[in-house]
């Protein structure tokens, strides 16, 4: 039996949303798994661009400069 265009669209919607959810669910699972593995493997993720003291020093310098 010939499907109408609208029926085709309806199926496409169901399949499409399903695929989007399945895809993103697997991605969530993958990301969580990766986070767990990474946390276990690397002892401590170091990523400090600037220490607090450095930031304080820079801020103080800027303030002083402005107030001159």
């Amino acid at each position: 039996m010939q499907q109408t265009l609208f029926d085709q669209g309806l199926t496409l919607m169901l399949v499409g949303m399903g695929t989007v959810f399945v895809f993103l669910t697997i991605l969530v699972a993958g990301m969580s798994l990766m986070a767990t593995i990474v946390k276990r493997v690397t002892p401590a993720a170091v990523e400090s661009a600037a220490t607090d003291e450095e930031i304080a020093a820079i801020t103080a310098a800027i303030v002083r400069h402005r107030n001159k």
Partner: protein
């Protein structure tokens, strides 16, 4: 005298058609929106000017041999320009907030309902006999609901080049209208109490996770949905260049010179499709209305998913960030932040909303892959 006549018959004044005149007005409106209203100026200014150039009668800039025709053939028909833009977007995007809270991907998934609802709407209008869209055209129109310019242009270029002008204009216009379209829907679908919810600060994300993410994304899309692989692959490539830390000079150029050059020619090329016989038709009106509906539905489904997740989750989730799932990066995330602050002045949702915001980009690309697979 003969020469003067030749000038006269060669002039735009003599040759211009009502349709071209109408398109000049449309394009000036796009420029007005871009320049004065600051609606997505990078695209609306270039598209609008491209449209002006293309509607000059007798100049042939958008016809074979003309510069904009060339740009269209080389860059859009081949899909190259939107893919390069996607690479640039990847290089510009920080997936950190998403990595810190992967669950927000579900919000980005839910918001794609706008895409498919619009597809259905376009087909319903056709069944009713009000419009006449094919499945391919309906699919391309639906992608407007993804609120992603390059995705919409890529899909339209593949499935419905005749509608490309209208679809690109609708996509960028509505992305700019996000601050007007979304807040009423957000307030209607959430309670004051929900909007006040504060979220737990995001954890730091390690460099390793940032590097692995684009690779994982690429492998997943490659294994599950290859038709979405060009879009998501280029996004992943741009992001890998950004995060891997060893090709900074390539990443910088991608984020600046390359994406800017391609944006200019992408905009001009899209403008070359703003011809009266393709734009000044009833279809365009349908596309504009459907695009608006798509945004609304996408926003609503993102919000409802947010409410659901808040109920099911142990850590609190403010449903407002679900609205950011339509993408329109970073506008939608800013809107979520603003509406949240109105309800609770200590409620900074921006970083939390960036998760679903970039998830929406991925979600739309997945939806685009589905559309290309079934509609083409």
């Amino acid at each position: 005298m003969e020469m003067i006549e030749q000038i006269w018959t060669g002039s735009g004044l003599y040759q211009i058609t009502g349709g071209q005149l109408g398109m000049l007005v449309v394009c000036l409106t796009l420029l007005y929106l871009g320049i004065v209203k600051k609606f997505e100026p990078l695209l609306l200014v270039t598209i609008g000017f491209g449209g002006l150039l293309s509607n000059i009668p007798g100049a042939g800039i958008a016809e074979p041999g003309g510069l904009l025709f060339l740009a269209y053939e080389v860059g859009i028909k081949s899909g190259a320009f939107p893919l390069i833009i996607f690479m640039g977007v990847g290089a510009l995007t920080d997936f950190g907030p998403l990595l810190a809270n992967p669950r927000t991907l579900f919000l980005g998934a839910a918001a794609q309902f706008g895409i498919f609802a619009t597809l259905l709407g376009a087909l319903a209008l056709t069944e009713l006999g009000w419009m006449d869209f094919t499945l391919r055209e309906a699919a391309a129109i639906g992608i407007i609901g993804g609120a992603d310019g390059p995705t919409a242009i890529y899909v339209a270029g593949q499935l419905a080049p005749n509608l490309l002008g209208a679809i690109a204009v609708a996509a960028y216009s509505y992305m700019a209208l996000v601050p007007l379209i979304q807040p009423p829907i957000m307030k209607a679908l959430t309670t004051e109490k929900e909007r006040r919810i504060e979220m737990v600060q995001l954890r730091e994300v390690s460099a390793v996770e940032r590097i692995m993410f684009p690779l994982m994304l690429l492998l997943l899309v490659g294994l599950l949905l290859p038709t979405a692989a060009p879009l998501l692959g280029m996004l992943a490539f741009g992001n890998l260049m950004r995060e891997c830390g060893v090709v900074e000079r390539l990443s910088n150029t991608t984020q600046n010179a390359l994406i800017n050059i391609v944006t200019i020619f992408l905009g001009l090329a899209v403008g070359s499709k703003l011809s009266a016989d393709q734009f000044l038709v009833l279809d365009t009106l349908g596309i504009l209305v459907l695009g608006m509906v798509a945004f609304g539905i996408g926003t609503a489904s993102g919000l409802l998913m947010g409410k659901l997740m808040n109920r099911l989750s142990t850590s609190p989730i403010n449903p407002l960030i679900g609205a950011a799932g339509v993408s329109a990066v970073p506008m939608a995330a800013r809107v979520a932040n603003k509406v949240g602050l109105e309800a609770n002045p200590h409620n900074f949702l921006l970083m939390h909303a960036m998760g679903p915001n970039v998830a929406g980009v991925i979600g739309s690309a997945v939806a685009a892959g589905i559309m290309i697979m079934f509609a083409s």
